[in-house]
Amino acid sequence: MATSAGAEHGGGHGGGHSPLEQFQIKELIPINVGGYDISFTNSALAMVVAIGLVILLMTLGTRKRALVPGRWQSIAEMCYEFCANLLRDTVGNEGRKYFPFIFTLFMFILFGNMLGMVPYSFTFTSHIIVTFVMAIVVFIGVTILGFVKHGVHFFSFFVPPGVSLIMWPLMIPIEIISYLSRPVSLAVRLFANMTAGHTMLKVFAGFVPALGVAGVAPLAFATALTGLELLIAFLQAYVFTVLTCLYISDAVHLH
């Protein structure tokens, strides 16, 4: 997909593409509703593909319902059990009703990250607005959950236990900021990991043709990095999910 788009910000050392070109949003089907640009972009396409693959995996996996699972069913069961165990370990039995949300979140991020590892594809989790929207949905959801479960008592969340009354004016703003920083750190963590990793991969890949025979060294490094990136793609999906579980657990069992 080496289009001319890279030329405008690539800087211009002969023929090389900018390592950031991969993050460019391209309109595929321009849609304009009431002055808002809601075009179908390559990012949206990547999301649709991710959701399609998850649905495909799950329907293929659950179609046979064999007692001894086949390959597809094993994968589907592994994903299910992974999320179920995660939720049980962090939230406990009350966490069961949040399973659909957690499972959807995990599979969506995991497939988004993994699809990004396919050459020439697009990593939608490398855009902070995507991760931030996911984080803010989690944040608002968890806050509402806390209020529904505990009412006004939810505000005791902002007073750390064992703090004397004199320290309250100091501690409460700190705790509120600490609470509000959750979606930011959640979003930035996923976005930064994906963006940094993919940029680094591209930079090292760019060294390979530039160095000629000595390009074997960056090639080997890029190969190793690809493995690391696969690990990070999984790990960041896991971290996002685990933190969501922890937040739900906080809201459910308030001290």
Binding site: D89, T90, S156, F157, F158, V159, P160, P161, P173, I174, E175, I177, S178, Y179, L180, S181, R182, V184, S185, V188, R189, A192, N193, V239, V242, L243, L246, D250, L254, H255
Partner: protein, 74 residues
């Protein structure tokens, strides 16, 4: 990576909140400055919580049986 993000995020939120309060109440540098210090404090608090294996839970209370979390769940 995790620690750094935690620190910066709290600082950003603190300053951002202070700045918005300033815009609203027309007290230009006051709340942004306060927010900076509170944000920094919150950031250190978050880092401390992550480092001591409490997750990033605020209002965390040690389990009553005194058994600490065996692994930092992250």
């Amino acid at each position: 990576m995790r620690i750094g993000v935690e620190l910066v995020a709290a600082l950003l939120v603190g300053v951002g909140l202070g700045y918005l309060l300033d815009e609203w109440l027309d007290t230009k540098p006051l709340f942004a400055l306060l927010g900076f210090f509170f944000g920094a404090a919150a950031g250190f608090m978050n880092v401390y919580r992550v480092a001591s294996g409490q997750g990033s839970t605020i209002g965390y209370r040690k389990p009553p049986d005194g058994s600490d979390e065996p692994d930092g769940k992250n």
